[in-house]
Structures are given as structure tokens and as C-alpha cells.
Amino acid sequence: MFFKDIPIRRKLMRGIVLICGMVLLVTCISFFGYELYVFRKSTKEKLSTIGKIIAANSTAALAFDSHEDAKEILAALRTEPNIVSAALYDQNGKLFSWYPANRDIREFPEKPGTMQFRLSHNFLEGFQPVAQDKKQLGYLYLKSDLGGMYERFRVFGVVAAFVIILSFLLAWLLSKLLQKSISNPILALAETAKMISEQQDYSVRAVKLGQDELGSLTDAFNNMLTQIEQQNLKLHEFNQNLEMKVKERTIQLESVNKELEAFSYSISHDLRAPLRGIIGFTTILEEDYSSKLDDEARRITAVIRNNTLKMGHLIDDLLTFSRMGRQDIIKTIVHTDQMIEEIIREVVPENRMGKISWVLHPVPDVQGDINALRQVWINLISNAVKYSGNREQPKIEIGSVRERGQTVFFVKDNGVGFDEKYKDKLFRVFQRLHSADEFEGTGVGLAIVEKITSKHGGRVWAEGTLNKGAAFYFTLPDF
């Protein structure tokens, strides 16, 4: 586990203990270094002092060649257990007397060296001149072991270890107490935040534990919560208003729409009555008075009848269109394949059936209003047949693809197609891209298709190029 991942509580404690430890260690090391320095210095000084005393005492022994006296003087060093050996050299640098007396003289330096005490290995040794007044009489050699130093360091080490352990313990205990004042508010804050995000209750407030930075953090946090709460309230109110407004408008719209549909239905219905009269009387004219009419009158009568019939179709389509708007859809399982076959048989005239090459892919069954969907297929297939009628080899392809989780049905033909820029106009009522002379029709068929698919929760669109065919797609939601 990395340091950044451990809980803040332990992070703080570790930090404090680590700092304490480092400080202690540095202190101990510096103190140890200082001790070492001081001890070396004081040992040197002490040895130098002893050396001076011995040297001063041994002048007469050297001056008057008294080995006994020299031996006696050196023997006084017994009282200094750290001094392991000492020796006197005469003026000419010859070994004169030594201590301890039983030590092999080969163990002593042959000749006096530098007049200075220095550390070598575990010993402090050096020479000191022996002089009476200013007269040089000989040299003193002293050698001291550092047993005293090691003894002192051992004691120091034990004390230092004890102090470090005690301090660590104290630091640990104190940090345990101190970290609470920092980590507790943070933990409380985190706990509150967690509770809020889990329960979505923005009325909860974090408890403030002090006036420090964490206290102001808690305040800021609580302020934020208050703001969120207020905004939530506003949003909620706003949403409710909106919903109510939408509902109102929808009701208004629906009633207007219903009125409009009722109006158009009644208009269409009422328009049919006079049309029937016109057709009836035109038929009477053609059948009963044909002999009395000349050719021009007969032609005009035929024109009247044709136009009247056309108008009848238009009114029928309009009626269908408005019926589609008014009627609720009743969903059942629709066997699409079967339906398409039936429709092809119904809508394609006998004489054209053989000319068209059909490509029928198997398509899935859907759930929807059977009559409405029949109308959709009728309109699309009859359009395809109609607009490919002037082709030498008309080709119509019907199928479906899965796209983005829904089924897309299509009807493609190689007919006259249309200009892409008008494709939005295709599905509007009475919008035609071709003249009625070229292709007969009322301009309502695709509008009906659009209405039905949208009522089913799907959508319809077209792709096409002028003179290169058109493709109509529509989707129905899966059941």
C-alpha cells in the first residue's frame, strides 16, 4: 500500500512519529559527534597534562642519570588505568626508562617522534619534551587506550536508546491524541458527504467541530448543501409548472386537433353528396342522351365524369387521412410477409404483373394496427409500381434491415425517383413532385404513411435520385 492510500489518521500519526524520530536521530547523532569530539579533545588534554606533570618530575632523573628515580616516577602512572605505557628518552633519543617495567622494550618506539598526541588505531599516543627551565633534557612518551571513551559511549548509547524509545512512545501517544483534532472533522465530513450522496437527502448538515480551516471547510460544505437544496426546490417547482403547462397545452391541442379532424371529415363527407349527384347526372347524360349529343358534348361529359371521379378519390383519401388521425391504433401481431404478398396481388394490375421483377426478402412480423399497416404497405407498394411504370424493366425490392436496435423496412424501385432537395416535401399533404398528368394521384398517400408510422412510434424517410429510383424506409418499434 502506498503512503497516499493509507487513511489520513495513520498518515498524520506516521508523519508525527517520523518527524520526531528524525529529529531525535539527528540530535543523538550530533550529540554523539560532539561527545566524540569533546572526549577526544579532553582525553588529549588530560594526557598532555599528565605528560607535562611527569615530564616536569622526571627532569632530575634525566639530568642525573637516575634510572631508579625515572622508574619510580613512571610507576606513578599506575593510578591512571587508561595509560597503557610510558617511556622516557634521554637527550640523545635513547630509551632511558619505561613503564610498565616488565614490558619488552621492543614494544616502545625506538626514537622519539613528533611532539604531539594523536589517535592511532584504538590508542592515543605521542611525545612530550622534558625540559628543566629551558634546557632540554629528554623526551616522554605516553600511550593511552580509549577504554574510557568506549565505556562512555556505551553508557551514552544505552541512554540514547532509552530516550529514543521513550520519545517514540510519547510521540506516538501524543500523535494519537493530536491527529483526532484533524482527522475527526475530515472523517465526519466524509461520512456526511457519503450519506448525502447515498440517500440524496440534501437537508443533512455536517457538524462543525472547531473554528479552524476544517471548520470553515465544513461551513462551505454546508453552504453548498443549502444552495443545492434551494436549487433543487426551484427546479422541482419549475418542473411541476412545466408539466402542468404541457398538459394544458396538450389538452388544448388535442381538442383543436379533434375539432379540425371532425371539421375536415364532415367537409369531405358533405362534399361527397353533391359529387354523387354530379356523377349520377353525368352518367344519365352519357347513357340516356348520348344519341342527342354531338361529339364535343360527349367529350366534355366524359371530362366532367373523369374529373368528378378524381375528386371522389381525393375526398376518399382525405377521409382516410383524417380517419387515421382520429382512430386509435389497436395493436395485434401482423404477419408482414403474408400481408405484402396479398397487397401485391391486389394492387398490381394483371397486365403489369409479368413485367415487374420482384425481389422480396423475408421480413419479420411486427406488432401494430393491422389495417393501418396494410394502408402503409399499400401506399408504398402502389407508389413503387406507379412510379416505375414507364421503365422497360421495372424492379421493386422489399425487405428489412436491423439498424441501431430496430427494424427498418424498405421499398425500393428503379422508377423516376425524385430530387433529394424536395424529400422533406414528400410526406406533406397535397405535395406532389410530379404532375397529375404524368402520374395520377392525390398527394395524400405518403402523408398517410407518415401519420401511421408516427402514431406507431416509428418514423419514415426517403432516399432518391431523379430518374434513378427511390427508396422509402420506415421503422416500427420492437415489441
Binding site: 627532569t59 642519570d65 622519539p112 619534551p129 634546557k135 632540554q136
Partner: protein, 188 residues
């Protein structure tokens, strides 16, 4: 510098030895090793004995070492003290053949064969701050201050503190420590 000092002393030593050899070969009769040591000891006494201020007329007055009688040191004593100074006093050596010649000296080595005569000399300079040294066995009994003697082939000396005291000479305790102390009540 200690090293320099050593080098210097060694150099001096070498010069001194060659000088000795030259003198030895051409000029002087043979000086026994015994007297060589005694000469050095005599010089060393100057460092462990304090004379009263009245013993010197002024601050750079010489400290005189005198030899009375037959000089057993040859030129060795001169060589030993050559160039030495004690508390600012240059050390010089004088040789007297007769008692009358004795002047203001500080150390008097009495090399008279006649003990009677020695005693006379000692009593003659009584009260003066002169350190008397001799090597006749009864030298101290006759009032002398320091007597050389031999022990196990070593030259040692005996001091008569009563005599030095009456001559207002202060002897270093260190000197006393390496010496035998003469006790007039004891028979030697």
C-alpha cells in the same frame, strides 16, 4: 619546532663529537668517562639549584663554575657549559690552583688531594653562596655540600642539606629525590 630542535641538537652533537676527537687527538690528556659524567652533572646542578639574588652583581653577570686544584676534566667542562645560560646568566668556568685565587664563584669543585686543605677551603668560604662539590669520601663530613660517589658503575651523589641551607642555596626537591641525603648523625 621539536624536529628542528632534534636536528639542531644532533648537529651540535656531531660538531661536539668531532671537536672532542680533535681535542682528544692533539691537545688534551685523556679525560675518563667518570669525569665526563661528573662535568655534565656539575652543569646540571646549575639548573636545580637557586642562588640568592645577592650572589649576582647584575642580571647578566656570569654564573661561575670554578675548579680548585688539579683539573680532572681537561677541557670537557668548558665544552659542556659552552654557550649555556642559566636564567640569563652565561655559564663560565674558572680554574684555580691555589686557595687564594678563589674569587666570586657559584660552584666550586674542590679537587685537592689533601682533605685537611679541603676543609680549610670550605670553612674559608663559609657564609658565601657557593655550592661546594667534591669526590673525596669524607667530603660532606668536612662541611662539603655535594659528594660524588660510585655505585654499581654509576655515578651518584650525596647532598648535605644542612650545608646548602646555611649557604642560602635552595635545592630543588627533584634534585634531592635523585640524591642520597647526608645525615651527619649517621656514620658512613
Amino acid at each position: 619546532m621539536p624536529v628542528l630542535k632534534i636536528i639542531r641538537s644532533r648537529l651540535l652533537h656531531a660538531v661536539f663529537i668531532s671537536a672532542c676527537m680533535v681535542l682528544h687527538l692533539y691537545a688534551q690528556p685523556v679525560v675518563s668517562r667518570e669525569y665526563q659524567i661528573k662535568a655534565v652533572f656539575i652543569f646540571n646542578f646549575t639548573q636545580f639549584v637557586d642562588w640568592p639574588q645577592t650572589a649576582f652583581p647584575d642580571a647578566d653577570a656570569p654564573l661561575v663554575i670554578a675548579v680548585l686544584g688539579d683539573n680532572p676534566f681537561g677541557s670537557y667542562l668548558n665544552e659542556t657549559v659552552a654557550g649555556e645560560k642559566i636564567n640569563g646568566h652565561p655559564v663560565i668556568v674558572q680554574y684555580y690552583n691555589r686557595t687564594e685565587e678563589i674569587q666570586n664563584c657559584h660552584i666550586l669543585f674542590i679537587a685537592l688531594s689533601d682533605p685537611q686543605k679541603s676543609e680549610q677551603v670550605i670553612s674559608g668560604i663559609k657564609g658565601k653562596s657557593i655550592l661546594t662539590i667534591g669526590d673525596s669520601p669524607d667530603f660532606l663530613k668536612r662541611g662539603g655540600m655535594i659528594k660524588f660517589f660510585k655505585r654499581k658503575n654509576n655515578i651518584r651523589f650525596e647532598i648535605n642539606p644542612a650545608a646548602t641551607k646555611s649557604a642560602s642555596l635552595t635545592l630543588s626537591s627533584k634534585l634531592l629525590r635523585v640524591a642520597e641525603i647526608f645525615d651527619p648523625s649517621k656514620k658512613s
